[in-house]
Symmetry: C2
Subunit: 697 residues, 2 copies
Amino acid sequence: MSDDKVMVIFQPSGRRGEVPKGSNIIEASRLLGVDIEALCGEKKVCGKCVVRIEEGHFEKYNIQSSMDNVSSWKEEEAKFINEERKKKGFRLGCVAKINGDILVFVPEESRAGKQIVSKAARDIHIDHNPAVKVYTVQLQGPTFENKIGDFERLCNGLEREYGLTDLTIDILTLRQLPMALREENWLVTVSVWNDTEIVRVRPGRIEASYGIAIDVGTTTCAGYLCNLQTMEVIGTASLMNPQCKYGEDVMARITFSMTTPDGLQRMSDDIIEGLNDLIGKSIADTHPPKKKKKKKKGEKGPDVYEEVPEEGKTYLRLAKEDIEDITIGFNTAMNHILLGLNPEYVGLAPFPPVIHHSIDIRARDLKLDINPSSYVFVLPNEAGFVGGDNVGVLLAEEPYKHDETQLIIDIGTNGELILGNRHKLVSSSCATGPAMEGAQLSFGMRAAPGAIERIEIDPETHDVDYKVIGREATRKFSKPEEMKAKGICGSGILDVLAELYSSGVITKTGVFNKKALKGHPRYRKNADTGQPEFILAFKEESSIDKDIVITQKDIRQIQLAKGALYAGCKLMMKRMGVEKVDKVKIAGAFGTHVDRTKALVMGLFPDCKIENIFGVGNAAGDGCRAALLNVQKRVEANWCSRNVEYLELTVEPTFEQDFMEAMQLPHMVDKFPNLEGVVPDYVLNQGPKGPIRPDKK
Amino acid sequence: MSDDKVMVIFQPSGRRGEVPKGSNIIEASRLLGVDIEALCGEKKVCGKCVVRIEEGHFEKYNIQSSMDNVSSWKEEEAKFINEERKKKGFRLGCVAKINGDILVFVPEESRAGKQIVSKAARDIHIDHNPAVKVYTVQLQGPTFENKIGDFERLCNGLEREYGLTDLTIDILTLRQLPMALREENWLVTVSVWNDTEIVRVRPGRIEASYGIAIDVGTTTCAGYLCNLQTMEVIGTASLMNPQCKYGEDVMARITFSMTTPDGLQRMSDDIIEGLNDLIGKSIADTHPPKKKKKKKKGEKGPDVYEEVPEEGKTYLRLAKEDIEDITIGFNTAMNHILLGLNPEYVGLAPFPPVIHHSIDIRARDLKLDINPSSYVFVLPNEAGFVGGDNVGVLLAEEPYKHDETQLIIDIGTNGELILGNRHKLVSSSCATGPAMEGAQLSFGMRAAPGAIERIEIDPETHDVDYKVIGREATRKFSKPEEMKAKGICGSGILDVLAELYSSGVITKTGVFNKKALKGHPRYRKNADTGQPEFILAFKEESSIDKDIVITQKDIRQIQLAKGALYAGCKLMMKRMGVEKVDKVKIAGAFGTHVDRTKALVMGLFPDCKIENIFGVGNAAGDGCRAALLNVQKRVEANWCSRNVEYLELTVEPTFEQDFMEAMQLPHMVDKFPNLEGVVPDYVLNQGPKGPIRPDKK
């Protein structure tokens, strides 16, 4: 490492890299593509950018992180960080300058909305009634007068103290029982699953138990480690779905399983291994960091590491057997792959899954590395293309408990739709995902530094301003070489389309407006393909030494995606027999970033009051968490999966027609009264032949 | 092999050896220690000795067995063997002479009571209600109108046709489901466990399903392969308990598990491996034998074997996954060892087991090699020393359903006692076994050819006549060198003691009657130990080139065993508050062989009408079979285990005194009116100082 560079690692994202010595932490975060809230623009007045410098040796990265490696404490920080937190290493990111290697933890409250893998748990209401409950009981040891067996002795105690009857016990737990009972003189704590089976026994009195709710997306998996007693989310871990290597979408993976010997087994093993990594990661976070012990002069031998617990901090130090319950939600194909169920028929009309119902599977039967007697609760599948993740969304949002009609759109790699109220629930799915997430486009990319995430096109000059991940300032306020643009990520896609329309670059049918663009420096035909394209970022603004463009084909891809979504919504409304929706909820990372007005203009969904459009984050994950903490939600999950009417869009007679229409600007066909007065008239009043250019101001 | 000898193998015992060419099958069976019923003494008139000559190559023994290798069919055989059976190879053992290598199958009905490992299934009444039931259902495939999942489709069909509701399915079975449903056009047969869980699914209509009841004795394990639908016992297999190498009795094994690292694991693995062998053996018996294919002249390469099905015989050809249910009964220590439960406390006062209740364990969790979704039903334990085998005895004999008071004695390696009637059940156990089974004696041996199994001592001359296993004629009717005696087996022990008493060789306290024996050629002091001993078989009658003797110490061992049994019975009667027992049942191989009168004279148990003393064979195994074929018996088993009062003999205040008295002739202390007129008066009227010699006839 050169002398003028230092290594910085950001947690929990895991992003790392070298930055110039003397940079402040906010600057470093931008360089490395980590989003930290910084409302005041580094004026040191908002106090939003609080971060924690971790102390200790981090083996994985081979760095020694220390508070001494940042500039000294400044007066202005005291306004936002008290003495106690100061001792723990908290600093303002815009103040602390980096002089040596550090590991920076970005607390939840300081993470900007655009966290790269953003599957944080939301604060939803959940009743406390976990499937796994702990009971402590003091027993009397055996005598000749009472020489009943250990298990029966325990059961008698549990019935006497807690009214539990007819309990069974897993054989692995039974094997622990005689020693556990005698270790603390017949005082034991047992974990009971569903009030029916003892799945763990520990000597003494123990209050806490833990579980993980896992949301397995097509692309990303997120795990929420929860205290089952306090319902607290103790940690969040995420990872890329290891199945991405078998194909970006579920159909590709189904094909892989059908065409490759042992394909299903391999994919299943991979995802299980991934989930074990996820579990391991969340457990590791409950232990203190480790530091390399200094060697005496001349001392040889391997390096020795010792834990460096943060002063005053209590570490849970969880072991894998401390995880006593898991809930998992995923789409039907992923469900089948993880469970080793042949997904072939899920991919063939009429797409019947192998099973709808939730399943309780012994963790060891899935080789999941937790308390081996515990069960995994797999959320039920709705239909071939709508699985437990959608049930999770239902559990979190509970549209069936409300009179108002809610439309819930979960845009991950697949697009899943729910429409419903107290009286009826309809679900559907459409292949919107890849395009909406940036895949399949010429310059599509994952949300990562350099990705264009916001764009504006001047309706008159057709000049472009944009913002990339990892840099606060937009192009307008930057030198070209500072932008380092690489491509367009999911959250930028809709912006691009909306702006192309609104500014008159393309017509309502999605075709470039040749007349208006004639001679424009951003408009050209591709030299190789002959296809028209529009330049969003010029070569000199890019880090890949290319113009970043959007092609006619790209626009078609996006139109197809949003057209399918819109047509799906309309068909569902028809099936429900409703004329309008009262609320629109957009789940997934997409929902967190999307501009509600632009989404409505582009016709991602039918008309709705702008203030009634909400991003609901990782609702699928929230639903898994609800099922983890409240066993009643598991019953509800099965009720949902059987009472939601699944609409197979492709077999609906009007779908093709609706779809074609929706690829255009839908407000040219449908009524969007809620847009009136919200967007410029010229956006709403485009003629059939092309956009009307706004009057010059 | 010399020209005048042929190889004969008997099945199912597996005994084999060379016999002189031209011997008949009965003669061969005696030479090899196989007991075939031959009531008429080879006069060819009783027809009891029907056997079957197997055709084919038997790889294991490297013989080619054929009906042509025995003498031709004789007129007199037709009286007992019809045309059909004749074709299948059935012959009369006393008629068919052996001219070449053969494998002889001895059908159940032709096996004499003294079958070497005699754990044959008895014909007890069992109601048909197996835990695993099969249901066939024709479903309709999915359509867009009915695209419900495979599992739900199946459940709907099962509910419609059979009223089954709320079914679950094991994940391994679920993995088979989509293919199984589609293979025979949606006609499937499912196996349902306890009307709650689907544990197997097979394409098409299948009527049969199979299970195994296993009785794990301390020394021997027996398995009964049953058709769960017809309740037929299809095969019986047995093997030595592989744990014998860790110690002959349970205490030795408990000690091994406590003192050896991984001792419990090793023993558990061994018994599981043994049970898998047992299962494999019973399955192998349902396939036809194999024959080596003849090579063409000059043909090279490895030997090829082909199946040689017997003409007209249908082979079930079961695979391991065809076994869909298992019940296992064993004593508490063996139960713990097999299940991997720490047996330490079972061996420590007050001897609490880890669990009393029966357990249903997934076969794969115990690594038992059957249908992996199936469950193993482990019979409940009564107490530390009385386990599921004793519950098995209760299930088979059902004393709790009768007014009369029954005493049931199960003499295996441990002695287990049951006393009870409709109103009360008491059980107990005592360490009788080893001596009663021939262990611990100078010339004790297992039941095998050469073992003395019957003995008579002349009260006047004190000369000895005896019979050995493997030879019909007794010493009196044989040349000395024909006897080939080797030792005394379990069934001979009691005879020896009874005859020593009755003939006045020993006094009522078990001491040799020196005065009466003075100068007798069979009485001497051992040259090495100085201990008095009595010769049962002289060196020239033995195959081990030694006199076979019974020593003073041997007699003490037997007295200790029978004294413990008798004292136990009396204490149980006291606890029950009964003065007499109405029936005595002796379970185990011992019970099949014992002379009822001698057992009563010797005071193995309190007075009872001789005609009310029964041998009940392997009642423990019968009970396991009852639990296999009638799920209601499993409920009954748990009821039994909790409602039988276990009497810990060693802590009873009068036990020591009762025990000391019972070591002597108990009828000198107790009343035995049922013996009057049955045995000579001099046996009942021995004076306190020694036996009264009978008057000369």
